[in-house]
């Protein structure tokens, strides 16, 4: 594995989807929809293909950034096109490129309106998000972070449900509010260090006051994006109104951007502040886990239920990070990947139902298993993964985080563990009401089971969920070195 080919895989992973997206846009009006779909699919597959070498040639034992690329972008401000990945970001680039293929396939027939623009928005979004995970320059990160709002804003607003305008604008403004605080922090860091390089910032000595301000600025940006309680309210709206593909990308990838920001910015740049304010973040995370779990229980809309369940699961992620022990951080990262698969699958399942019934209300369903047995089996698996059943991917992350939490403090561990009960309660109760029982009405009686296309993407995700649940070591192995290095850096601190 020593001879890495001299190909900029990381840049390709960013720019192939973006340029492919522009190509898709060029196919023009809906009479060329087949061409748009085909180009989109090929681009998505190619975009995923170039990320595979990233895993093959990734050296899990190596400290620091791999596949680095650095060239000057805006010399005037000393902003560089500096990208690279480590064990923290590797999986998200792969996950993102992979999910993009599924999103393209999921929208293959269900989207009939402005197809080229739909596909292009997802592809461009995918490239921008790879850019976020790979960026090692603060401004580059910010530019990708902000620019990725535009496609999602359009996706929700153009192809969304009846209340889409409200949801799209709320999503945009909430996220923008947080990221403007981050911009202030980035500019401040630049004025102190005279550099925009994130790795330079990691080493820059900062006083406690500076660290605190920077920490809270980042908390604002990433907390909204995760989203953490109490700034989570945009997410249920956005999920409910977004088209299926939008919900999938939002849950599977976009939420991870915020959590990733914590490990890339907050912890290493302001380590002492992170230690000092960890109890605040832990408290907010526990509220998300427990309170939002109860909120999910009360939902009548399936998408809203899964949206709240996402918030609750992401609360687990932030909880894991701020335990600041290896189990917690690694568990949280694994939980992020697993949630990427599971939430994508849950939203796709709801999408399958919605395409047939045009309703997301739980009460409109009942006895779906009678008419859609294959679908019910897949849905069962994903529901189980969502509540963290052993042998599914959901279990690995949650269990590790709970172990980390118990190590940190028994009572926090206990509170966190309630998610296993709450998660099971809201997910399985919903499942029971939708799938089991007698056929509820004539609409359900007329349902047809999933076709080959739907079978394909659900089966692929099912394979991922099971593989990760049964054999999670490849995921964890790639992270060890980076997580240990991060925790060593945090515990060393910057105040001497």
């Amino acid at each position: 594995m020593t001879d890495i080919p001299d190909i900029p895989f990381l840049s390709l992973a960013i720019w192939i989807p973006i340029l492919g997206g522009l190509l898709v846009l060029a196919t023009g009006p809906d009479r060329n929809a087949w061409m748009a779909r085909l180009v989109a699919l090929l681009t998505a597959i190619l975009g995923f293909a170039v990320t595979i070498p990233l895993y093959i040639y990734f050296d899990a034992a190596k400290v620091g950034m791999q596949f680095p690329e650095a060239r000057s972008w805006i010399a005037y401000f000393n902003i560089n096109y500096h990208i690279g990945i480590d064990g923290l970001s590797l999986w998200f680039v792969l996950l993102n490129s992979f999910i993009t293929i599924l999103v393209v396939i999921a929208g293959w027939q269900t989207v009939q309106n402005r197809v080229a623009q739909y596909m292009a928005a997802f592809l461009i979004m995918s490239g921008l998000m790879n850019g976020i995970f790979a960026a090692l320059d603060g401004v580059l990160f910010y530019v990708f972070f902000e620019a990725s709002l535009i496609p999602l804003y359009l996706i929700i607003g153009v192809w969304g449900g009846p209340n889409r305008v409200h949801a799209a604008i709320k999503f945009f403004l909430f996220t923008l509010a947080g990221s403007l605080a981050m911009l202030l922090a980035l500019l401040y860091l630049h004025s102190v260090t005279d550099s925009f390089d994130i790795l330079v910032w990691h080493r820059a000595p900062l006083s406690m006051v500076e660290q605190s301000l920077i920490f809270f600025a980042f908390l604002a940006a990433f907390g909204v994006k995760v989203p953490m309680w109490p700034v989570h309210t945009w997410l249920p709206d956005a999920h409910v109104e977004a088209p299926t593909g939008g919900s999938v990308v939002l849950a599977a990838i976009a939420l991870k951007l915020g959590a990733y920001g914590f490990v890339r910015f907050s912890l290493p740049i302001a380590p002492d502040a992170a230690v000092a304010y960890a109890p605040i973040v832990i408290a907010l995370s526990l509220i998300a886990v427990v309170y939002i779990g109860f909120v999910a229980l009360a939902q009548a809309d399936m998408k809203k239920l899964v949206a709240y369940s996402s918030i609750s699961h992401m609360g687990f992620v932030t909880l894991g990070f701020f335990m600041l022990n290896p189990l917690g951080v690694e568990g949280a990262l694994i939980q992020m990947i697993s949630h990427g698969f599971v939430s994508a699958a849950m939203f796709l399942c709801i999408g399958v139902l919605y395409d047939r019934m045009h309703s997301r209300q739980i009460e409109d369903y009942g006895g779906v298993v009678n008419t859609m047995p294959k679908f019910a089996a897949f849905f069962m698996l994903f529901a189980m993964a969502n509540c963290g059943l052993p042998a599914t991917s959901g279990f690995v992350g949650e269990f590790t985080v709970i172990l980390g939490a118990v190590q940190y403090n028994f009572w926090i561990g206990l509170l966190a563990a309630t998610t296993l009960i709450l998660g099971a309660a809201y997910t399985l109760w919903m499942y029971k009401r939708v799938v089991f029982g007698a056929v509820a009405n004539e609409h359900v009686a007329k349902l047809t089971d999933i076709g080959a296309r739907e079978f394909f993407f659900l089966a692929v995700l099912a394979a991922c969920v099971l593989a990760m649940g049964l054999y999670p070591f490849p995921f964890a192995d790639a992270m060890h070195t980076s997580v240990n290095e991060l925790l060593r850096h945090v515990s060393a601190g910057k105040l001497h």
Binding site: G28, W73, I74, A75, Y76, F77, R114, Q117, V139, Y142, V143, E146, A147, L149, I150, Y153, L154, G157, V158, R164, V165, A168, I169, F172, L173, L176, A177, L180, A181, L183, L184, L187, Y188, H190, S191
Partner: protein, 492 residues
Amino acid sequence: MNFVVPDFFPAMAEIFVAAMVLTSMLSTTFARNLARNLAYVLAQFTLLVTTFITIFTLDKSIIHSFGGMFVHDLLGSILKLVVCFAMMIALLYGRGYLAERKLDRPEYYLLALLMLLGIMVMITANHLLVLYIGLEIMSLSLYALVAFDRDSMHSTEAGMKYFVLGALASGLLLYGMSMVYGATGALELSGIAQAVAGQTANKTVLLFGLVFLMAGISFKLGVVPFHMWVPDVYQGAPTPVALILSSAPKLAAFALALRLLVVGLPGLAEHWQTMLMLVAAASIVLGNLAALVQHNIKRMLAYSGISHMGFMLLGLLSGGVGKLDFTLAAYSGAMFYAIAYVLMTLAAFGMLMLLSRAGFDAGEIEDFKGLNRRSPWFAVLMLFVMFSMAGIPFFVGFFAKFAVLEAAIAAGHLWLAGLALVMSLIGAFYYLRVVKLMYFDEPLDKTPIIASTELQVMLSVNGVAIVVLGLMPGTLLSLCRAALLASSIPGG
């Protein structure tokens, strides 16, 4: 006192424009039947040749002429180039609109050229009186242009309003200049700077004068508290005139502020910086809040312009913190902002021209409804403009905001930068609303977009430039910095 023949060479561009104004006036009088096209062609020709003259006389050294009243420097040349480009685009955009309304009389182009002359004189002035003369040539031409649609009540009302308030502002400025002259005994900018530095001037009179100068500058920039005319005049004036008004004169006002404050009164920097701080903060707050509730897109753009000028001032007030590098970065940030703003406002008003047709004036924000259905290409261009104005990256507006905010933070004005960011969040809402109307709503008006090819091509170039400059802002920024470094801007 012996008479010295001045060196005319540095002022060649200005002299050429003046000559062309006369040529245009005479030729259109005698060739009345050709006049419409002739005046337009002559105006574009003048702009083109002026651009070439300016490019060929680009020089890093500073040349004074006319007994020190006139200065030819890189800063002036770059600003003149941008002004020429902006005017070319503005005249091109407006042509079809004016023709459809029978407003394309030769006087329109004549007044535009005269305004150009005024702007160029302002940009190159090194003397209070020359500055004032340039300002008046520009303003008087603009008053007439605003009232150009003389049969329209709105247009004449706007012209009247602009004239009365503008004359007042000019008076204030002149009064301020007279006080500065009284205190320092000098009219030449460098002489004033020396007198202030030498502590011989009466500080009270000087500060009193500064306040009046500030009032004049604020009026011309259209910033709070001298902003009241902006929305009314933009709304009332014919759209092509509003386009002219919102582009080139802003650069002239930037030059006015730079010459008067930075070159002429660096000794009073701490005073005018404090004043500018209040003006900038108030403009950003009021501009963004008021733009939120507008239905008329020209009014919305007017208020957004007020806030953009406030942002530009953030750069202008962050200079002079000790290091030359910081000072240059701050002023070039402001200059970059002004140029970026001109580019964006040209495109935004160009869009209005595109949507308008004979008998229909696109003026309401609602007129953008469903543009994506009618023309995906122009919808995406307008999306670029709106996100650029909101300061979202990959567009030039982001790096413009970035440059001035960085300067403000380097100068220690953290609260001001924070306030600006909060307000730009509020501002994002009304830009998003335009995008929402274009993409999420169905069109009210399904007529296909008919516009001349030249307008469509130029608008596309303009929109794409917003993206290209957003991806590669480095060259223009370096150019701004080089221009300021080579001119008589004192650092530190």
